[in-house]
């Protein structure tokens, strides 16, 4: 519960409908896409002007009340998990596209604008916004920036950090700041990169200038089937190693294709141990040349079958399974847990084989559908939360996968962020000197630690606790990793 005098001070800053304090009104905000964690906030604010955001933050700063900014609430790592003694600051009403400059190929948008809405608005100029997380119909661009969201097209067109030109934001003290600029490069420290992926810990974003790209004239996708999971993993490295950067390079294993086939009827080869989807885009001439190279590499890598989409409808059909993989898996299993590690591509065969072995050891099926070209794994561990022990084994399995990701030189989160979910993993991935840099950056922006506390970057003391827990449990998986 918040102090009533604080709540009434909030009430003076926004219209009555923009302040929610009753339990039944704040309940929809108790969690985001990671429903494992829930907490009801003291209040939810829904401002619709930047001036209101400034006033709210000033007040919270003065009263030392923590603030959790929230976009569409689709985060998969608990980034928008509220704090009982704090407020949720929803940017849902910031949903205007302010300007599109087709010549400069940029759009200025408010943070609550949906990712897909940008591409829809830009389509009139033959342009699109490239990063396309699977939740793009719902997720907001402000949340995308906060999480440095990725998607299928990031292999060729970059992550959010590569596709944002400028961000306007409000600091916890109420000051308005701008990062980046209209031109290629802005002088001084790259605070734009720092704010991107900062999970709401540094500032509250109020306006974003994104880059737009010309829509490719043609896109074509090759669907390749493999008898061995490892072969498919090696084929990913072979495509990239040949110097080809496809528009998308995704993998689904048998567990995944069987789940989605019942859902989308895309005629996937169900006997294949793994399927790769490899997209070429550009002018028809470029696509033809690249597709020929892609097919040659796939065949040389042991593909038993390669189909190429003959028209747009077929291309979308081939992709439909990949795009619908999560809901499809949700249909065949009562629960699933999505992991988000990223590894160097060359380690794919080894890691995939190990996951397969562990799936048998843990007795939990695991469907792999992921951004193979980026080396970004999304193993979906299937379990039943109502079965005793399933959830614990699932979490242990997931931890093993992430530890392996670190061991092969990768990271515990490719695109979903750390949030609350992976805060312990940060202690395994980063050494104390590195975490101290993070904490130093945090202090430079938010000395009192009021913005989204408890997420993304663990304190050293917290890591020490985790470290002890690991050791006491006798489960220190990789003793060579720096821990403290």
């Amino acid at each position: 519960m918040l102090d009533p005098t604080f709540t009434s001070a909030l009430a003076r800053l926004v219209p009555p409908a923009a302040l929610l304090t009753a339990a039944e009104d704040t309940r929809p905000y108790e969690c985001d896409g990671l429903t494992l964690y829930r907490e009801q906030p003291g209040a939810v604010l829904l401002p619709d002007t930047e001036a209101q955001v400034v006033e709210i933050l000033r007040l919270c700063h003065a009263a030392r009340v923590p603030v959790v900014a929230r976009g569409a609430g689709t985060s998969l790592s608990g980034g928008a998990l509220p704090i009982a003694q704090g407020v949720v600051l929803s940017l849902a009403k910031f949903r205007r596209i302010l300007a599109i400059d087709p010549l400069a190929r940029t759009a200025i948008v408010q943070p609550g604008v949906r990712n897909l809405a940008i591409s829809e608005a830009a389509a009139a100029y033959g342009l699109f916004y490239a990063p396309d997380p699977s939740s793009q119909i719902a997720c907001s661009i402000g949340g995308n920036v906060a999480e440095n969201a990725g998607g299928v097209h990031c292999l060729k067109y970059g992550l959010t950090v590569h596709n944002v030109r400028k961000v306007r934001a409000v600091l916890i003290t109420g000051e308005i700041v701008e990062f980046g600029g209209g031109a290629l490069d802005a002088p001084g420290y790259d605070l734009l990169a720092l704010i991107t992926g900062s999970e709401g810990l540094l500032a509250v974003i109020t306006e974003i200038t994104v880059k737009l790209l010309p829509k490719p004239q043609l896109a074509q996708v090759a669907l390749a089937a493999f008898d061995e999971l490892e072969q498919a993993g090696a084929a990913v490295g072979a495509v990239i190693g040949a110097g080809i950067i496809p528009g998308g390079l995704e993998m689904m294993d048998r567990e995944a294709t069987r789940a989605v086939e019942q859902f989308v009827h895309a005629d996937y080869p169900l006997d294949a141990a793994a399927v790769l989807l490899v997209e070429a885009d550009g002018t028809p001439v470029e696509v033809a040349a690249e597709m020929a190279d892609i097919i040659a590499v796939l065949k040389a890598s042991g593909a038993t079958e390669v189909r190429v989409s003959e028209n747009e409808a077929q291309r979308l059909l081939y992709w439909s399974g990949r795009k619908a993989a999560f809901p499809a898996v949700g249909r065949i299993s009562p629960d699933y847990y999505c992991i988000d590690g990223t590894i160097p591509r060359a380690a794919l065969p080894r890691v995939l084989r190990q996951i397969e072995t562990w799936a048998q050891e843990f007795g939990l099926p695991c469907a792999n559908v992921f951004h193979a070209g980026d080396g970004n794994l999304h193993p979906l561990i299937l379990f039943d939360a109502n079965k005793p022990g399933d959830k614990q084994r699932t979490i242990a399995f997931g931890d093993r996968i992430l530890e392996l990701c670190i061991e092969v030189g990768g990271t515990i989160t490719g695109e979903h962020g750390v949030g609350v979910e992976k805060i312990a993993g940060m202690c395994a991935q980063f050494a104390p000197a590195e975490l101290e840099r993070f904490l130093g950056v945090k202090r430079a922006f938010d000395a009192e630690g009021l913005l989204n506390p408890g997420k993304a970057v663990p304190t050293l003391a917290r890591c020490a606790e985790f470290g002890r827990m690991h050791v006491h449990g006798g489960q220190l998986a990789h003793p060579e990793l720096p821990r403290f």
């Binding site: 990062f179 209209g182 290629l184 605070l191 080809i244 550009g282 470029e286 490719g414």
Partner: protein, 471 residues
């Protein structure tokens, strides 16, 4: 064009320096040098002669040695300046408060090349030409080309770009991870070989472009690219500057993946014709193009651009398909600065670095050209126009202070014009000590944050003091 603002920082105490120098000699023998000539050589980059000598130059071999040296400097609060090959243009390496210069030329090994991951790891002192030589035979290359044969560490520190950033991006897009020695002498790894990560703040990009003020970069993980199947270059000449710039804007809008587009105005083209014997061309506004891709793709890109250029009154393309013809052309482009200086022997020059959103490029270039004509100065225009980035080489007679003042006033107007058009006055050369005012003009409140970040990562202001952010 002002010098570093005054700061509370002073030169280190004589005794502390003597003790440190003695210790460095004990530890590194011949690799710790105090000879005047060597210190002078490490006192400046290129561009304006704004030398400031370090007290000692050390040539480290390993990350651990760098960390040990930084720890000594940290304990004694003595400045430390990382040095690649000294090709930066904004006074980045001048030792404004003396101290230790760390010369990375002996940390020049390519540590690993990973074909299937299209990346490599190099020590900071590897130069870009050396890297590409070592990559021969792998089918891979590292495209970023700022003209000078700079070190990878220096390029990362200044967030360098160059002629083909329009296709391959700048160092911001191409550095995957770093090994960095922190201000207190600890070795930290940022980023890594994973293609994407949302774990923790993006320290890699924070360090890229930080000009040695937040940490000392000792190793760089770089993105590599497959060598294109076909490369060809072409030259197209235009009746006036506007037609040339408009051609570029349309090409960019269509998203044609040109590898390089370089603009030279009539004055610069004239200079290059004389300096590099490009006698087959006329002194007219000119675009240099380079196309990368499959045979068919390159042909298609070139045809599209050629018809766009023709729509704007451009000449027929003159092709350079053979490697030696291409390198002659690009060498001429890279020598544009020297060619400009050769236009008026005895004069000195400095480069401006405006960059604007491409929709404002025509306005910015044409207003600037008119401005130059008004001043009566010689200031050729050359630019990576696909990125909206262009440079003037402003020439002045050092013996005539009023001419230098006029030149600096012109440069200041170019900077303000770019900023007013939503751009920047430092597209790629960085801030160093010369552009601190401009940083404040462009970033306002964010400069306070930059200062806070600087204090958080270098509380005693020992890393390249006086650069990048105002004190």
């Amino acid at each position: 064009m002002t010098f570093a603002a005054t700061t509370s920082r002073t030169r280190p105490q004589h005794d502390a320096l003597q003790a440190l120098t003695g210790r460095l000699r004990d530890d590194y023998g011949d690799r710790a040098v105090t000879a005047q000539a060597v210190r002078e050589q490490h006192s400046h980059g290129e561009g304006l002669a704004d030398a400031a000598l370090p007290d000692v130059v050390v040539f480290p071999h390993t990350n651990d040695e760098v960390a040990a040296i930084v720890r000594l400097c940290h304990a004694a609060r003595i400045p430390i300046i990382a040095f690649g090959v000294g090709t930066s243009l904004e006074g980045h390496v001048a030792a404004l408060y003396g101290g230790v210069c760390l010369d990375f030329s002996q940390m020049n090994r390519v540590l690993e090349v990973n074909d299937a991951d299209l990346d490599c790891r190099v020590q900071a002192g590897v130069t870009r030409e050396q890297l590409n030589t070592e990559l021969k035979g792998t089918g891979l290359f590292f495209p970023i080309d700022p003209g000078a044969n700079a070190t990878i560490g220096g390029m990362a520190s200044t967030r360098a770009s160059g002629t083909n950033a329009v296709r391959y991006g700048t160092m911001r897009e191409n550095v995957l991870g770093l090994t960095v020695v922190t201000a207190d002498g600890r070795i930290v790894k940022t980023g890594g070989r994973a293609r994407k990560s949302s774990a923790g703040y993006d320290l890699t990009r924070l360090l890229v472009g930080s000009e040695g003020t937040l940490g000392i970069i000792t190793e760089v993980q770089l993105r590599l690219y497959g060598l294109p199947e076909a490369i060809s270059a072409a030259v197209c000449q235009f009746p006036d500057l506007k037609s040339a710039v408009d051609t570029v804007i349309v090409a960019m809008q269509l998203g044609i993946p040109v590898a390089r587009i370089e603009l030279l105005d009539d004055v610069q083209m004239d200079a290059c014709i004389r300096y590099s014997q490009l006698t087959e061309f006329a002194p007219k506004p000119t675009l240099f193009f380079e196309f990368h891709g499959s045979e068919a793709g390159v042909r298609e890109q070139a045809e599209t651009i050629q018809s766009l250029a023709a729509d704007h009154g451009g000449s027929r393309f003159q092709w350079a398909t053979k490697p030696e013809d291409r390198s002659r052309l690009w060498k001429a482009r890279h020598n544009a600065y020297y060619a400009a200086l050769a236009l008026a022997p005895g004069k000195q020059g400095f480069a401006t670095d405006a960059c604007v959103p491409i929709s404002r490029l025509t306005d910015c270039v044409l207003e600037t050209q008119a401005d130059i004509v008004q001043t009566g100065l010689i200031a050729p225009i050359v630019g990576h126009v696909g990125d909206g980035n262009f440079h003037l080489v402003v020439l002045f007679d050092p013996a005539r202070p009023e001419e230098r003042a006029k030149a600096e006033a012109l440069a200041a107007r170019v900077a303000l014009r770019a900023i007013a058009m939503g751009g920047t006055c430092t597209g790629e050369h960085g801030v160093g000590m010369h552009k601190l005012d401009a940083l404040v003009a462009e970033h306002g409140e964010a400069v306070t944050l930059m200062q806070a970040v600087k204090r958080a990562l270098d509380p005693h202001d020992i890393l390249n003091p006086g650069k990048t952010v105002p004190p």
